[in-house]
């Protein structure tokens, strides 16, 4: 026992904090159950485990729970021989739970020690719409010190809040007094709770109420058999026959065995300790299983988040690849762009600097001449709009692909809910952003050419051409320089690009052209990647918002290990 090892209450508190931090934001199957279980664990630690660990000698809390109409309130009243809780014919009856204790124990239950999140009310019973967040506290002499009774709401009532509260109160009990009737003892919902009690090792006593006197033995045997088969052979079984009520209370002789047992329990310190220890140990033992279940559920959330992210990443990586291929493979040259470039290279514009006579030149250059004058600016613009169109189509198809794959993944549909139309296409300001980015790229290429050609100003041809024309040539060279012009080209005179490139090479030097083309291509790839990343972020942000914290699992596991160590070292 080292001084540095944490105590069990501290380790338990750490564990509770870690469980409270768990989040189940993605709508995978089983998430609602996991969230409920996490809340139940936190509640039990707050309501029962921590108070009990801190004060092992506190009075025993016996919770009287059961189904609608089982007779819990009548039972409690009869045990005390006083009208403490309201019994009635309308269901559900018990709205606000009633805690009856001895006057000496009042202080133990009035504060925040047990069930800290429920308010305590005293005095006259409230109306039928008593608040659910409150506990009615009644001090009565009939109860001996050391034992308190809590009349809980129905475990299967129509009102959901009642059901949740009943489960919470049972989790806060040292002893369950489970009330069922001859008509209901085989009901599924109460048996689920009894199975939970078996799993947690809680001390249970079962009261079989409203038994027709003639069928008493048969029914009692049947129920005893069911309890044995369920693993509750240690539970005490009390049978109360159905007799006319005596002033609203059960006849004394029916109640006698149960009352005797409870009073004996209250008086005998050892027996009380045994009960307390049994329930406490069982609850702590069961915590590890429940935490394992929660860890699995959290793992599921992580896995779902990862899958969704990967789907988005894959779709956008494919889009980036499409753009890369189109830029690198020279494919952008085909069609209108190259036709324009062809005209540009073949015009007298280019030749005007070399020769004077237009007619002879026309004949010599031959059919490459079309006679139309295209300024360099026109070529640039058509290149730019092509790239912007390509980016738009890539972004649209990537968004659609992501949305479609998310719809078939767990949790994806819920993330997309309400936003489908927006997320199925590129964002509305993407076209403008793409156009801006491409224009910036064109400016970048011009800068490159300008800085390269600055030292060669003496070359008259380059000057007369204009920087814009050289920039256009580099851009076309970018697209054509990877050898995309194979023999398959028919309507394209690839040679004109080669002419342009040769010219540039003559002006700027061979190696310079190659490096310019490579740099321009890399710059365009980077810009396209940036744009597509912004698009992808729309999806990634959705997942990050709903996904659990990345280190939640390790911290929870560490806390569970800490608790196990603390218990072992005690």
């Amino acid at each position: 026992m080292t001084a540095a090892a944490p105590t069990v209450p501290d380790a338990l508190e750490t564990l509770r904090d870690r469980v409270a931090e768990l989040s189940f934001g993605l709508a995978v199957p089983g998430r609602a159950d996991a969230a409920r279980e996490a809340r139940a664990v936190v509640d039990q630690v707050d309501d029962y485990l921590l108070p009990r660990l801190r004060d092992l000698d506190a009075p025993l809390l016996a919770v009287v729970g059961g189904s609608t109409g089982a007779g819990k309130s009548t039972l409690v009243n009869s045990l005390l021989h006083a009208d403490v809780t309201r019994a009635g014919v309308l269901r559900p009856t018990t709205r606000a739970p009633v805690l009856v204790c001895a006057p000496a124990d009042r202080a133990a239950f009035a504060g925040d020690r047990v069930l800290p999140h429920l308010a305590r009310t005293t005095g006259a019973p409230g109306g039928p719409d008593d608040g659910h967040g409150a506990l009615r506290l009644v001090a009565h002499d009939a109860l001996p010190a050391g034992l308190a009774l809590l009349d809980a709401p129905d475990v299967d009532s129509v009102v959901t809040a009642n059901r949740d509260l009943a489960a919470q109160l049972l989790a806060a009990a040292d002893l369950w007094i489970f009330v069922t009737t001859a008509a209901r003892y085989a009901d599924a919902v109460p048996w689920d709770l009894l199975h939970t009690a078996v799993q947690r090792g809680t001390a249970v006593a079962v009261v079989l109420d409203r038994v027709p006197p003639e069928a008493r033995d048969e029914v009692a045997d049947d129920l005893a058999g069911m309890l044995r088969r369920a693993g509750l052979s240690a539970a005490r079984l009390f049978v109360v026959a159905e007799r006319p009520l005596d002033g609203g209370l059960l006849p004394a002789e029916e109640i006698a065995p149960l009352r005797a047992w409870l009073l004996g329990l209250a008086a005998d310190q050892e027996q009380r300790d045994a009960v307390v220890r049994q329930t406490l140990a069982g609850a702590l033992d069961s915590l590890s299983d429940r935490v394992t279940g929660l860890l699995a559920a959290e793992e599921q959330q992580h896995a779902a988040a990862r899958t969704l992210q990967e789907a988005a990443d894959a779709a956008y990586a494919r889009a980036r690849q499409e753009v890369d291929d189109a830029v690198a493979g020279g494919a952008l040259l085909r069609g209108e762009v190259l036709a324009r470039w062809q005209e540009f290279v073949g015009t007298g514009e280019w030749m005007r600097g070399l020769q004077a006579s237009v007619g002879r030149l026309r004949d010599r250059i031959g059919s490459a001449m079309t006679g139309r004058r295209t300024s360099p600016e026109q070529v640039q613009a058509s290149l730019g709009s092509s790239v912007a169109d390509l980016l738009q189509a890539a972004a649209d198809s990537a968004a659609e692909r992501t949305a479609t794959s998310w719809r078939s993944l767990p949790g994806g549909t819920a993330l997309l809910a309400g936003r489908e139309r927006d997320l199925e296409a590129a964002s509305p300001d993407f076209p403008d952003a793409a156009v801006d980015e491409v224009r910036d790229w064109q400016g970048e290429v011009l800068e490159l050419v300008r800085s390269e050609g600055a030292g060669k100003r003496a070359r008259a041809r380059w000057l007369s051409w204009g920087v814009n024309g050289a920039g256009a040539v580099v851009m076309v060279a970018v697209f054509a320089s990877t050898g995309g012009l194979t023999g398959g080209e028919v309507a394209v005179a690839g040679g004109t690009t080669a002419v342009g490139q040769r010219l540039l090479e003559a002006v700027l030097g061979d190696a310079a052209v190659r490096s310019l083309a490579a740099r321009a291509r890399a710059d365009l790839r980077e810009r396209a990647g940036r744009l597509l990343d912004t698009e992808r972020a729309r999806f990634a942000d959705l997942v990050t918002a709903a996904a659990p914290a990345p280190d939640g699992i390790t911290r929870l596991r560490a806390a569970a290990d800490g608790l196990a160590t603390a218990r072992r070292s005690r």
């Binding site: 189904s67 609608t68 109409g69 089982a70 014919v89 309308l90 269901r91 559900p92 299967d156 009532s157 129509v158 959901t160 009737t181 001859a182 008509a183 209901r184 003892y185 085989a186 009901d187 599924a188 919902v189 048996w191 027709p212 069928a215 048969e218 029914v219 049947d222 499409e322 291929d325 189109a326 494919a331 952008l332 040259l333 085909r334 069609g335 209108e336 762009v337 036709a339 004949d363 031959g366 059919s367 079309t370 006679g371 092509s386 790239v387 169109d389 390509l390 738009q392 189509a393 890539a394 649209d396 198809s397 479609t404 489908e420 296409a425 398959g488 080209e489 028919v490 309507a491 394209v492």
Partner: protein, 526 residues
């Protein structure tokens, strides 16, 4: 009912039509539920118009006692152990054995009522197992039979009438079947008069809150017989009307139609022709099909041919050294592929974007399931589009191939001028040879305004030829442009045809299917 309700056959027919339209298009579970209902309706209608009434309830509610009281004999053995009823029991009133019906319901314990009350002839009463005990198989049996029977009588008792299990799992989901449902509050003999009234009022309040205000609540006591005559009277009314099965199926059809209505958007606006492709789409398809390349090839080819016809004879043969741009594209045969290049990445991107816009326009106000269907349709289309476009371009009639008359005439004139020049040249050569042979003066050399005629002929011929070529050039170009415009019009028309057949029409078809689906669902759900 103040509103006249459509007949069950109409409802089912409308539902059938909706399922047919949705088959293969909508991949949603509601369509499966509709199909199951149609199958059940078909089977049930073939089994006659007996009234199947089921007594359902929780453990210990007294179903079996009530069953025995109604039958008049101890058929179901009520016991004290729980759960009691394990298998479904059936009691049949009336001679014509409802055996086939009970086979369809898969009920094996059958009891024929002796000396049956003629008012209840045709009644088949079922005692179902309980639905909330620890035995799961009981609950599954109840779930199965609740779907199949015509009238449901829920037996509640003062202990369990507010159980969540009953209300959440069975009563609330049957909100649309209020007329098919009957609630019986059993064991009222355990409560005294004011308690009984309070209990009934509370139950009424719960049922009203769940949308079952039309469901009657009958207080009975199976043990003392109180309330039984009223219950029997209700059963008699239902049995003699012989409408129980129809009512149940109608209520089910309404429920299913309501579920399907979630996949209905607003119907199309009238007046818009959905099968006509927009100009943006046609332009994008034309760009992808290479129409600009073909048009420019047409123009260049026409210009080349014109130059050949009207150009200077000395030089125009050089045009033959280059290939005809139009012929290289191998157009003209719709069966064979053209030699047009594949659409580049940009054209393909533009095409995808245009198809996407067309799809978004059609599906703007449709629910998600139908938008998915539109997307699937266009995916299939996009694969075929390239081939269809190529064929459209290949098969286009680009105009007559003949050289216009005026060009031919100009060509003839050019030759004449060339001959004139040649004559002058030969004359000059002859003069030169004669001069060399010192035979000046043999041939006459007339003069025209101071210049010798042969020189004039030679110079004039060449000059006139060159001038004619220069003059003809802009005319040739104009003619080529005209031809190009005509070719573009024809090509665009063919591409628009492809756009209509491959893109606009499938989308319009899907939209029309959606409208039909919605109309059918509305008819079924009225």
């Amino acid at each position: 009912m103040s509103r006249r309700e459509p007949a069950l056959a109409d409802r089912l027919g409308a539902l059938r039509e909706a399922v047919e339209v949705a088959d293969g298009r909508l991949a949603v579970p509601e369509v499966g539920a509709a199909r199951a209902l149609l199958a059940k309706a078909g089977a049930r209608e073939a089994l006659g118009d007996a009234t199947v009434v089921a007594l359902a309830g929780a453990t210990g509610s007294g179903k079996s006692t009530l069953f025995n009281a109604l039958v008049g004999a101890e058929v179901s053995s009520p016991g004290v152990r729980r759960p009691t009823t394990g298998t479904t029991h059936a009691a049949v009133w009336g001679g014509d054995g409802a055996d086939r019906l009970l086979d369809w319901l898969e009920v094996s314990r059958r009891h024929r009522v002796e000396a049956p009350d003629p008012a209840l002839d045709g009644l088949v009463l079922l005692d179902l197992p309980d639905h909330d005990s620890v035995r799961l198989e009981h609950r599954l049996e109840v779930d199965r039979l609740v779907e199949l029977v015509d009238v449901l009588i829920w037996v509640l008792d003062p202990q369990k009438y507010a159980d969540a299990a009953v209300h959440d799992r069975y009563l609330a989901p049957l909100a649309g079947h209020a007329g098919v449902l009957l609630v019986v509050l059993n064991q009222v003999d355990r409560l005294d008069e004011p308690a009984g009234v309070a209990c009934r009022d509370d139950l009424r309040r719960l049922l009203d809150g769940e949308g079952l205000a039309a469901t009657p609540v009958l207080p009975v006591s199976a043990r003392t017989g109180a309330g039984l005559p009223e219950l029997r009277a209700v059963l008699e009314r239902r049995v003699t009307a012989r409408r129980a099965a129809t009512d149940r199926l109608a209520a089910d059809a309404r429920g299913v139609a309501g579920a399907l209505a979630a996949h209905c958007g607003t119907p199309s606006r009238a007046g818009r022709d959905p099968g006509r492709p927009g100009p943006e789409l046609v332009e994008a398809l034309a760009a992808a099909a290479g129409v600009p390349a073909v048009v420019s090839a047409v123009e260049r080819s026409a210009r080349r041919r014109g130059a050949r016809s009207t150009g200077w004879p000395l030089l125009r043969w050089t045009a033959r050294l280059r290939p005809d741009p139009l012929r290289r594209l191998h157009l003209g045969d719709e069966e064979a592929r053209t030699s047009l290049p594949q659409p580049g990445a940009v054209a393909a991107a533009g095409l995808r974007t245009a198809v996407r816009h067309a799809r978004d326009e059609v599906g703007a106000d449709l629910p998600q399931a139908w938008r998915d269907e539109l997307r699937r349709t266009t995916e299939v289309t996009e694969e075929r589009l390239a081939d269809r476009l190529d064929r459209a371009v290949a098969g286009a009639d680009l105009g007559p191939d003949r050289t216009p008359v005026w060009q031919r005439a100009t060509g003839v004139v050019q030759w004449l001028l060339a001959l004139v020049g040649l004559a002058g040249a030969l004359w000059l050569v002859a003069l030169a040879v004669l001069g060399w042979l010192q035979l000046d003066g043999v041939l006459p050399v007339p003069e025209v305004s101071g210049l010798p005629l042969p020189t004039v002929l030679l110079g004039g011929g060449l000059l006139a030829g060159a001038l004619l070529a220069l003059v003809a050039r802009p005319l040739v170009r104009a003619g080529a442009r005209r031809r190009a415009r005509r070719a573009r019009r024809r090509l665009t028309d063919r591409v628009a045809e492809v756009a209509r057949a491959e893109v606009a029409e499938p989308l319009a078809e899907t939209r029309a299917d959606h409208d039909r689906f919605c109309a059918a669902v509305q008819r079924a759900g009225r």
